[in-house]
């Protein structure tokens, strides 16, 4: 038969003390402390996977990115034979499309585009982006993209010979 002292000792072991360290296998107090740590602080400053609230924030941030909010369109004109900036972003988002065209160009004149994502050149200015094959207008293929940039995006353009002509560049992108 269980004596009163043994019963109290049993309860003390199972319930534990308020000061028990968090533990998944310890006393009831230790287990509750462990679960509170796993739930984490309400409204955390950043997403993550170490607490429930940080994981919920991470899911919210990821779904916000995928809903392609903050969509923007940029157009610039490039008339120099040296690269000039179409767009330079420090931040994160998606490049979702790019196209360019030459107006009233002589045959053989060209336009180049350079795309740099997170500091790495993904499209070099050594490949013609658009070339006039006959006098008139020349269009590049509209290039639909879904390219993630985590820290920076830079797009620059140039033309083959200076004059009154220019290459027009349009791009679409979203920001997180």
């Amino acid at each position: 038969m269980l004596g009163i002292n043994k019963l109290l000792a049993f309860l003390r072991r199972q319930v534990g003390l308020r000061t028990d360290a968090a533990s998944a296998t310890g006393s009831l107090h230790a287990k509750i402390a462990e679960e509170l740590a796993r739930i984490g602080a309400i409204n955390p400053a950043s997403g993550g996977t170490d607490t429930l609230f940080r994981y919920l924030r991470k899911l919210w941030e990821d779904s916000g990115r995928l809903s392609l909010q903050n969509a923007r369109i940029t157009h610039t004109s490039h008339s120099s034979t040296s690269l000039t900036t179409h767009i330079e972003i420090t931040g994160s988002g998606y490049l979702t499309g790019i196209t360019g065209f030459l107006m009233n160009y002589a045959a053989g004149q060209s336009g180049w585009v350079e795309v740099t994502i997170d500091g790495t050149v993904r499209l070099t200015d050594s490949a013609r982006f658009v070339q006039g094959v006959a006098n008139g207008d020349a269009f590049s293929l509209a290039l639909p993209a879904f390219l993630r940039f985590s820290s920076s995006l830079r797009i620059r353009g140039k033309i083959s010979s200076a004059g009154s002509q220019a290459m027009e560049i349009f791009s679409t992108y979203t920001l997180d």
Binding site: E61, G64, Q69, N70, T74, T76, H78, S80, T81, S82, L83, T84, T85, H86, I87, E88, I89, T90, G91, S92, G93, A162, L175, D176
Partner: protein
């Protein structure tokens, strides 16, 4: 705010999306370096005239340390001149009156981003 990035001057703005503050520059304001071309606005056939191409920064301060070669296009012709102290001088002689009665003289920095200088010069007999 205006900022020099490489050879270019760009204008950045901050965009607050609620998730981040992105820093964005769209388009190119100008190059950090430019050439100013000075000389006669009229030429007489057969008589040389002196022109001067000088490097300046985008805020109009002279650049005496900038001595990279300058390509000068005069109508259909092109020559390369080498500045000293940021300034290059060259002579232009017109052999005939071009169609339209004018020549376009343009000076372009060689192999780097630089705003060119240009002049339209009337040619007379």
């Amino acid at each position: 705010m205006l900022e020099r990035i490489g050879d270019e001057i760009l204008e950045f703005k901050n965009v607050d999306t609620g998730t981040q503050i992105a820093r964005i520059a769209e388009g190119h304001i100008c190059f950090a370096t430019k050439i100013v071309l000075m000389g006669a606005h009229s030429l007489t056939v057969g008589i040389p005239a002196t022109f001067q191409a000088e490097y300046f920064d985008w805020e109009d301060s002279p650049l005496p340390e900038e001595n990279r070669p300058i390509h000068v296009r005069i109508g259909e012709n092109e020559v390369v001149v080498n500045p000293i102290g940021g300034v290059a001088e060259f002579d232009v002689v017109a052999d005939y009156v071009p169609e339209g009665g004018a020549l376009v003289v343009e000076a372009v920095g060689d192999g780097f981003g630089c705003d060119p200088g240009g002049l339209e010069v009337t040619v007379v007999e």
